[in-house]
Symmetry: C2
């Protein structure tokens, strides 16, 4: 039997991988303190898929027979576990529902194609029998992109791309590689590395996301300052739609009318399935060294990041934590790492007494420098000079090494805290430099206020991890004790506070997490009503029967959008009725999306 | 009366500006020799617009009255000269026809709006009365983007954007500027420069093109290696369509579904009128110095360019001429410039005898370096080292200065030679590094063969002016004596040879000149049939009545595309029947576009 590795359906990562809390003795006490847990919390029970009721399976016999004519049985799955795994992505909303057995819609079967021809045949069959198709990479999306349409009564098929995972060819001289869409990050990089090249795309989800997923969601990796976002990397692609296959040419740039690559990029499975792409790759750098710095406060860190961009010398990784994320990072330090000694007594004393740091405001910056010896040295020298000017304290290579080691760990930690009834998730955006700090303060305030309308205390932090000539991203992480009986509403309320603040503050609904379902209430403000018409025109033209991942990105025309938060919930939450003391007065929000009116 | 400067309708530039041939004593003799003109050719007579018959003017009275209700009379023009000026762009095909009084279709009136509101009202009125709108910037397009639809019988209106020419605001800290779409290059840069910033976008057409036109055609400027193509510069824009106004948010990057900016970029006026955009700008560089080099041959020049890209140290301008373009550039040297001494006897002797250059193969490279002192010095040092390794001879700053001085002259020269019955135009493309030289040879061969099927000798050259991590552009210039009685067919035949070779060779139909009408036969091969469906879907959704610049980018659905070259012409031309000796045998072309079958 073909064994295809999937993430655990109730959390992040493979079934046997768990977050290693034991090696981080300061982390759980820190979290308990910051979210206000006094005693140890009982673990939620282990998860059995047998206990979960999925919606009645809707198998269209004619469709299944047609599929069986070209797909061998082990690549056509109808069993409960496969259905469950493909029901959701990995947002808090997804995980909380699945852990609590709430699955309103689920794929009726899962197909693992091996080729573009098979995909074309699957889509053709789906068209013939009016069946919904949801493309699936590794299932790590946190915007609700993978959630099945639940109203049409049509059979739902998840097309899992994981078997199409080859680097087809590498043109090292041109710096390009043709890669199948289902290649997971690590396997793809491994194949590329044998040619001495890298894509340079390392999103936090790297271990459990595919290049097809990155393209479909306009993903960004932590080295984007050098290598760009995925949309900057694609030279050409192939996408099978219900009306034919889009094929673009492998050229660096063109003026061939509207850029067809950009119609596929960010289409989130609503127009078709990306089967392969030619992307730019770079020779593996000779030198690569991570460094850590401590800035006296977030503002000075931001100013330093800005100056590096302005002076054309950004490191390959820039990750500036605000005080909240800095505290979390310091609590994270592993016993086995000498990072532990990072802020030992002597250093603390030096920082406080000599450098006059207020350690509650200090911000940890993590960088990676790379290049040939000359480039590496030049940029590091310039960055050091700029950082010093802005009051940074050089922490050496240990914090960077610790970061490199743990950089994909965060989603595992989320599972650990969810096991202990903590809600935790993220929201991220981008804006121009002038607006970066005002937006930061406004969003922090908005999330903090919303969170504290539901609980007495919580964790809130932010980091900057993608910089551009004109601005940067802001990535907010929040967590607090779940509000019993209102877990989902509480999450959505806080999520809404973040998104409202993004849009009100002139920023975008997401810098690299997609629209999916969770960000849909804000899309009209982001791209305008006429922008929505444009997307609708593409949809109608390429997928006239609306079989491809329906009701994503843009709100459905024929029914109201039910985001999951009712007016009555909003009132209850904003009045602080879920918690006992400290009732905050509600405040009117300018620009409330229609769906909440 | 409002005086709006326009280019001369029969050629490039203002009516009183002519190419200064007198100061370039070697140029005309060189051209005469290379195209085989033995005696001086008589000038074609001066051009009088009174002599030209325009199509019968079709003025919809109700529309005109509606427009007059909000546009003052001097901004609503119905006179012949205005109609003529707005009939065509500036390709050889355009200029030859207009000079010969061939105008099958022409705008019936020209409107100069002052605001987005006026544009919305114009489009609304056009919708009400079924009137065609053709957005017009400065009229420099050479792909047939501005040519009026000539079949529908509808009134045609040219909306000239030139009065919307303001830099609305500059955010120097963020490196952004909000600019109205009708701003011509020089006026825009002048306004930006007062803030100490530059857009860094200098296409060859800079003096007579607008930012709206750049956006609509995905333009590239000669500093794109540092500043990017226009599509890399746009953060947000506003575009009025017949179904509403697209408004995007000013953020550096987003993951908000399909990128709506990219639906407007390259839309060539077929979906709406771009009214303004926020683009990234850069602080004016402290240092800026042009340099020239001579490479032993094109291949070594290409290798040097490649190595600079690979080592992350491209100059801000890289312009590598092949031997043909090098000869033209050397003939171009002005009497007043010490560039004249560039290849004086001593230098020539040194190059031949010491450096062992074959001067017939030598290639002129022009560069500009800029930055603060540190960046400037670093890059120049690195580039010098790389160029030296590839056998380059450093010519100092004079050739670069001469290039900077004459960089916008070429289109004027084209008028000069057209006055003397020479056909001259350009075709350009891009491809990946691995394919660059093979494509170069194939296209040179294809154009050369086609040209020599019509005349005995001609000029053919190529330069590289835009480089990327994965490849570069190739820009071909060709010219020869016109074939009497078949001037247009001859031009189209040679154009076709270039485009056929691009597409056959895996390249794109244009790197930065747009599709318009002239490149339309190749669009299906470039973006695929399904890609065309996508564009058609956008068109149907945003411009359901097809009033915006109809029949551009994608072939019309309801009628066959008449490109202007019939099968009988093709046969005649490929059999060399237009010239007397040296009949070449015809050869079948793989991938002949439908329109020629």
């Amino acid at each position: 039997m073909l064994n295809i590795e999937q993430m655990k359906w109730w959390g992040w990562g493979g079934e046997n991988i768990e977050f290693d809390m034991d090696s981080k003795p300061e982390l759980w006490p820190y979290i308990k303190n910051v979210v206000g847990i006094e005693d140890e919390v009982k673990l939620t029970p282990s998860f059995k898929y047998e206990d979960i009721d999925l919606p009645l399976q809707n198998l269209n016999e004619k469709f299944i027979n047609q599929i069986k004519s070209f797909i061998d049985p082990e690549r056509l799955r109808v069993d409960k576990k496969e259905r469950l795994i493909h029901s959701y992505g990995k947002s808090f909303r997804d995980l909380w529902r699945i852990r609590n057995g709430i699955v309103h819609a689920s794929p009726d079967c899962v197909i693992y194609p091996l080729s573009e021809n098979e995909i074309a045949s699957i889509i053709k069959a789906a068209l013939d029998f009016d069946i919904v198709i949801i493309p699936f990479g590794a299932g790590s999306n946190i915007a609700g992109c993978l959630e099945a349409d639940n109203g049409s009564g049509r059979m739902i098929v998840s097309v899992d791309m994981k078997l199409m995972d080859k680097v087809i060819s590498v043109d090292k001289y041109s710096g390009t590689a043709r890669i199948q869409a289902g290649a997971l990050g690590p396997l793809m990089e491994k194949q590329l590395n044998t040619f001495g090249v890298t894509l340079g795309h390392f999103p936090d989800s790297f271990e459990y996301s595919t290049i097809g997923g990155w393209i479909a969601t306009r993903s960004a990796g932590m080295q984007s300052d050098k290598y760009g976002k995925i949309e900057d990397m694609v030279l050409s692609l192939r996408m099978v739609t219900p009306t034919g296959t889009i094929i673009t040419r492998t050229v660096p740039k063109s003026s061939n009318g509207i850029d067809i690559n950009h119609i596929c990029l960010g289409s989130e499975g609503t127009l078709g399935i990306v089967t392969e792409a030619v992307v730019q790759v770079h020779k593996l750098p000779e030198y690569r060294v991570p460094y850590g710095y401590l800035f006296p406060d977030f503002e000075s860190g931001v100013n330093a990041v800005y100056e590096c961009v302005e002076k054309y010398c950004p490191p390959v990784v820039t990750r500036l934590n605000d005080p909240g994320k800095t505290a979390l990072s310091l609590a994270y330090r592993s016993r086995s790492s000498s990072f532990k000694s990072l802020l030992g007594k002597a250093v603390k004393s030096y920082l406080k007494n000599v450098k006059k740091f207020d350690l509650d405001k200090a911000c940890l910056m993590l960088n990676v420098f790379e290049g040939d010896k000359e480039n590496f040295t030049e940029i590091r020298k310039k960055v050091n000079r700029i950082y010093k000017k802005h009051g940074a304290f050089n922490l050496g290579t240990e914090p960077g090494k610790a970061f490199e080691k743990g950089k994909y760990d965060f989603p595992y930690l989320r599972d650990y805290v969810m096991d202990r009834n903590i809600m935790a998730d993220v929201s991220e955006t981008s804006t121009v430099w002038q607006n970066l700090l005002p937006l930061y303060y406004a969003v922090m305030d908005s999330i903090d206020k919303a969170m504290k309308q539901t609980v007495n205390k919580g964790f809130l932090g932010c980091h900057i991890s993608h910089t551009y000539h004109t601005g940067a991203s802001l990535y907010f992480t929040f967590g607090c004790q779940q509000a019993p009986g209102y877990e989902l509403e509480q999450y959505l309320y806080i999520k809404k506070a973040a998104e409202d603040a993004f849009i009100k503050g002139g920023a975008t609904l997401s810098h690299h997490h997609a629209v999916g379902f969770e960000h849909m209430p804000w899309i009209k403000d982001d791209i305008s009503e006429t922008g929505i018409k444009a997307v609708r025109g593409l949809k109608k033209s390429l997928d006239p029967n609306n079989i491809m991942n329906p009701d994503k990105i843009i709100p459905p025309l024929e029914k109201p959008l039910n985001w999951g938060l009712q007016k009555s919930d909003l009132e209850k939450l904003s009045n602080g009725l879920l918690k006992k003391p400290d009732i905050h007065s509600p405040e009117s929000e300018a620009g409330e999306p229609d769906v909440f009116k």
